[in-house]
């Protein structure tokens, strides 16, 4: 009788799902805000928006330490991109593979309780995401590989911001944990 009244245990708790959703929105809108404030595609705003996005992603994985968090994040993020800002749906399969691989990287490099493993996972995720973006660029502009080379420079500049974001994200997560604002789900 008691068993029938006990709610079944779910892998994802609503609180964790809401955190993933809110951070997806923050990452998307922060990038948009910086790009608009910086006046489009200049190198500084390109680095800064990637720095902020990676820092927020680090805070997200520090908050929701569960296998599949990056996979779920890219799924939600790609869906939202498609609905709101014209993101391309053909990014989804590659993004899902990247998310899944990075969750495996975190799992096998020490698990979700080790900050080093989380940082490694996010670093690999950012790198794979850039490769997917370049792959998509190649599919679209394959007649002119020189344009893919121009895109590669922009992507490399963005990844520089991501690498900086790993350290700032770690620093921000530690500060937030110390302040009692960031508690693990």
């Amino acid at each position: 009788m008691l068993n029938t009244l006990t709610p079944p245990t779910r892998y994802w708790q609503p609180g964790e799902l809401i955190v993933i959703g809110i951070f997806s929105a923050m990452i998307k809108l922060s990038s948009l805000l910086i790009a608009l404030t910086g006046g489009g595609m200049n190198p500084l705003s390109l680095v800064l928006k990637n720095l902020v996005a990676t820092s927020l992603l680090v805070v997200l994985v520090f908050k929701v330490r569960k296998f599949g968090v990056l996979t779920l994040f890219v799924t939600v993020s790609t869906l939202i991109s498609m609905l709101l800002d014209g993101g391309n749906i053909i990014r989804l399969p590659g993004a899902l593979i990247a998310g899944g691989l990075c969750d495996l990287v975190i799992h096998f490099s020490g698990g979700y309780q080790k900050p080093g493993a989380l940082i490694a996972g996010v670093a690999v995720f950012d790198l794979l995401s850039r490769f997917i973006a370049l792959g998509l660029s190649w599919l679209t502009m394959r007649e002119q590989p020189a344009m893919v080379m121009v895109a590669s420079v922009i992507v490399a500049l963005g990844y520089l911001g991501c690498l900086m974001g790993l350290f700032s994200g770690l620093h921000l997560s530690r500060e937030l944990t110390h302040a009692g604002v960031l508690r693990h789900e």
Partner: protein, 252 residues
């Protein structure tokens, strides 16, 4: 974007189900990658342009075209010297026609979807797709959080202005790290607090328990959706036919 601005339009495209627009955008995105000839790509691009025109948001359309145009011209302008350096041959902007057409054809349909979707429409569409809760809940939280985030940004900017710090292009270039820290540290703290509150509210409401929710106003695909889907299926089929099939002789 419609979801950000909340304007209320009642044109043809605004009455289409979000699932129809998603299907059109997905179909076009996949087909344009397969095409290599300018004629079928131009056909999809022109029809996509009319699809986009039906949103009636001409100012945003013009801005999007201006932005994409500038981006493409800059990219091609940088690529031309690279081609000259690598191949030793001259290249002109005309050589970039096929990639440009591919980008514009995709942009027209995805932008039409983004400009005509309303928040409520998107949430209904997501619900009607019968996505599992672990995708539906964060996606709807993302959509619902957008206006809250905008309001948070406005409040933080105003509070910084009161303290004598103006956030803008100048501060971003002169003091990038300080600007980011002043702007984003409070934003992250507010977001984490909101997430905690919403998470607790969701737990208390019993979201995600065994019983499935009932739909007050279930969305159904109508005649308009069927017509639009049929039109785009025929158009994409025709484009593929021109490129690969019996209509290939039409090509110059």
């Amino acid at each position: 974007m419609q979801a950000y601005s909340g304007t209320n339009n009642t044109g043809f495209i605004h009455r289409l189900d979000a699932r129809t627009k998603m299907a059109v955008a997905a179909g076009v995105s996949i087909v344009v990658v397969c095409l290599k000839e300018p004629l079928p790509l131009a056909l999809i691009g022109i029809m996509g342009f009319f699809f986009l025109l039906s949103t009636g948001r001409f100012r945003l359309m013009a801005l999007a075209y201006l932005f994409i145009g500038l981006m493409l011209i800059t990219a091609a302008g940088c690529a031309i010297p690279i081609i000259k350096l690598l191949k030793g041959s001259d290249a002109s902007y005309a050589d970039f026609l096929v990639p440009f057409l591919r980008i514009i054809a995709t942009m027209n349909v995805v932008l039409a979807m983004a400009l005509s979707n309303r928040i409520q429409g998107m949430l209904s569409a997501l619900k009607s797709l019968r996505l599992p809760l672990f995708i539906y809940l964060p996606t709807s939280a993302t959509i619902r959080f957008i206006p809250v985030f905008m309001e948070d940004v406005r409040q933080i900017r105003e509070s910084l202005k009161i303290r004598g710090f103006h956030i803008g292009v100048k501060s971003l270039f002169l003091h990038p790290i300080l600007t980011l820290r002043l702007m984003f540290a409070p934003l992250v703290i507010r977001a984490l607090r909101s997430a905690d509150d919403l998470g607790m509210a969701a737990e208390l409401k019993g979201i995600g328990l065994t019983t499935s929710s009932t739909h007050h106003n279930p969305t159904r695909l109508g005649f308009r959706d069927a017509f639009t889907l049929l039109f785009w299926v025929l158009l994409l089929g025709l484009s593929l036919g021109i490129e690969f099939g019996p209509l290939k002789e039409m090509l110059p």
